[in-house]
């Protein structure tokens, strides 16, 4: 019937029969494009839809060949099929091919072509049906694109049915788990779950089906070779066209390295904590030992004060008794020897007392209270015989702000500085002392000035050290501990001490102490 279409067509144009009228109606209103062309390929007739698809008006198309609007890349394929028709190897063909529209855009079509024959069976033309499949092609392309994305992903992307049977398996999954696509598809997803982690897959599925949203969680999966892999797992439902859940898709990321790094970090933190704890233990232990040592030292200094001073007292006492009761029986030399024994014992006693004073200041309690400096100074002047000699001038140049101090320490400082000031003076010179105070922010500077022999700058540090004497004992007696006590006492009260002096020009001792607020 199709073979005679062209004849009928022509005849129908002149004398339309009922059947032909119906055919024409179909031709004009068909939802697919239709065209009739001669054997030379020139279009003789097209319907509206054809013109629509190709993007020209019907009038523009008549007389053109298909090659005129076929996409250049598809011309060869088309001509090959046409040859097949003309050589009688095919009666018709269908081809997915592209056309170039008038506006330059490309469309995809499914073009079906039938060879038209006359009543004797000789080919006389072509009948073409053209369907626009651009949309379908675009969808296919998207699918291919998505498939490529899935395929090339480093993550394992797996889909499965509700029965946990694997439906798709990308190359990422193959790399991660070692199963090929052929091995995996059709088997249950359970094969990836290590036996020790139980039956979690069905539970997750049930939660998904119940409408629960599961973003991602971290778990362990097992590879074909038994290796455990830490994965971050994202799971979502797969629905069919009607919206029914038919399965799930999962994306698994290998986080073994991350886990290992976390583990290493945790390990490092643990070690650090252990070290810190050990260190604290050591500190505690050593503090305890130190405390024991301090207690031993305290016991020692207690013992020194009692036991070592007692024979000295006996030496002094018996020397005195000897001089007093038997002195007349000794000549001058004998008396001088006795006096020397006595002086040595006295000096030894002084040394012991100073060492004890230093250790008391160094270890004693340091509770600070507001102290009236002027009272302390006046007490010291009154109680130290050397300061009351009539050739000594002491100017107490108030006012003195109250300082935060330990009264015994402050007394120690004042008495040591003042007794030094009257001691270290050129023979025959009258000692002149001045004490004054200068507020200095939160501190108070006490300045002790004298007209003594002074201290060379290179000795300024030395004099504050224990036994840091600068002059021989013969020239100026003393133990060499006094200024060390001053320094230690000032420091124990949160203060400092410094000296300002040149040799032969007197000295100024600066004691900086905290100012009392009340």
């Amino acid at each position: 019937m199709v073979g005679n279409l062209k004849d009928n067509w022509r005849e129908e144009k002149n004398r339309p029969s009922g059947a032909d009228r119906r055919f024409r109606a179909v031709f004009n209103q068909a939802s697919v494009g239709m065209a009739i062309a001669g054997l030379d390929g020139r279009i003789e007739e097209v319907n509206e839809k054809f013109a629509d698809v190709i993007g020209f008006t019907p009038e523009e198309l008549v007389g053109k060949t298909f090659a005129d609007f076929t996409h250049p890349e598809d011309i060869d394929r088309t001509e090959k099929m046409v040859r097949e028709l003309l050589e009688g190897r095919l009666n018709d063909y269908s081809l997915e091919k592209r056309y170039l529209q008038k506006n330059g855009e490309t469309i995809w079509s499914l073009t079906s072509v039938t060879l038209l024959k006359d009543s004797t069976g000789r080919p006389e033309g072509f009948f073409a049906v053209v369907e626009d499949i651009s949309e379908r092609k675009k969808g296919e392309q998207n699918r291919l694109h998505l498939a490529a994305v899935v395929e090339s992903s480093d993550d394992a992307i797996i889909s499965m049915g509700l029965n946990t049977i694997i439906k798709s398996w990308n190359r990422g999954a193959q790399r991660m788990f070692g199963y090929s696509e052929e091995e995996a598809v059709g088997r249950s997803i359970q094969m990836l779950i290590p036996p020790e982690s139980g039956d979690e897959e069905p539970i997750i599925l049930a939660r998904l089906l119940a409408g629960e949203r599961i973003d991602h969680y971290e778990t362990i999966r097992v590879a074909k070779n038994g290796r455990r892999i830490n994965v971050s797992l994202t799971i979502s439902t797969v629905r069919d066209l009607t919206g029914r859940i038919v399965g799930a898709s999962k994306i698994l990321r290998d986080i073994t390295d991350k886990k290992r790094a976390e583990e290493a970090l945790r390990h490092a933190q643990d070690e650090l904590r252990q070290h810190a704890e050990k260190l604290e233990e050591q500190v505690a232990e050593r503090t305890l030992r130190l405390r024991e040592t301090i207690q031993e030292l305290e016991a020692f200094s207690y013992s020194v004060s009692h036991d070592m001073r007692s024979p000295l007292r006996a030496m002094q006492g018996y020397s005195d008794a000897l001089i007093e009761e038997y002195g007349t029986k000794l000549d001058e030399t004998g008396q001088e020897y006795l006096k020397r024994i006595r002086r040595s014992a006295a000096r030894m006693d002084l040394l012991i007392q100073d060492v004890l004073a230093y250790s008391r200041v160094a270890k004693g309690d340091t509770e600070l209270t507001p102290v009236d400096v002027e009272n302390v100074i006046r007490d010291v002047i009154q109680n130290y015989p050397g300061l009351q000699r009539e050739n000594v001038t002491i100017k107490v140049a108030g006012p003195f702000p109250k300082v935060l101090a330990h009264e015994a320490y402050l007394t120690q400082i004042v008495s040591n500085l003042l007794s030094n000031a009257v001691k270290f003076v050129e023979p025959g010179k009258k000692p002149e002392l001045e004490i004054r105070a200068e507020p200095e922010g939160e501190m108070v500077r006490l300045i002790f000035s004298d007209n003594g022999i002074g201290i060379a700058p290179e000795h300024h540090n030395q004099i504050f050290q224990i036994f840091g004497r600068v002059y021989s004992e013969k020239k100026f007696e003393g133990t060499g501990i006094g200024l060390a006590i001053v320094k230690k006492a000032a420091e124990r009260m949160g203060g400092t001490v410094a000296v300002e002096s040149q040799l032969g020009q007197g000295a100024k001792f600066h004691v900086l102490l905290r100012r009392a607020t009340r």
Partner: protein, 148 residues
């Protein structure tokens, strides 16, 4: 002036005993002077135990000079014991020690010492102390009649 009250010297160092006796004598103190050599000995004396049972020979003293560092019983323990005895309430206890440790000083007063003196190093200073002691404790201080 009190001359009848006895003085008890609790001191283990015989040099100190000698020098103290000498100083008291040179200061003109004529009161009876008795010596115990350690803490336990002092307790025996004060409670009239053993060889000290005879109170005529070993009377309860008006004044005790107490060293702190003693064999057998510490001076501070002797002091605490004395202050716990009702018959010794009015006994004057003078701590006479080589220690000028603040802790000893504080503890001695806390336990009820009447005075605290650091042993003077020289014979002259010891004599000065003995004179001052005589002048104050024996000439001005009033004792309870029973004790004296």
């Amino acid at each position: 002036m009190t001359t009848s009250g006895a003085i008890l010297l609790v001191e283990d160092n015989e040099d100190d005993v000698f020098l103290m006796k000498r100083a008291l004598k040179n200061a003109g103190i004529v009161n009876r002077l008795l010596v115990t050599e350690d803490g336990q000995d002092a307790l025996d004396y004060l409670s009239g135990q053993g060889k000290y049972a005879n109170r005529d020979e070993f009377p309860i003293p008006a004044i005790v000079f107490l060293d702190l560092k003693l064999p057998l019983k510490r001076g501070l323990d002797v002091l605490a014991w004395i202050r716990g005895q009702s018959h010794l309430e009015s006994v004057v206890v003078v701590v006479l020690t080589s220690s000028n440790e603040p802790t000893d000083l504080k503890e001695a007063y806390r336990l009820g010492a009447n005075s605290y003196v650091v042993k003077p190093p020289t014979a002259q200073q010891l004599l000065d102390m003995a004179k001052a002691f005589k002048w104050y404790w024996l000439e001005f201080n009033q004792f309870e009649p029973t004790a004296a």
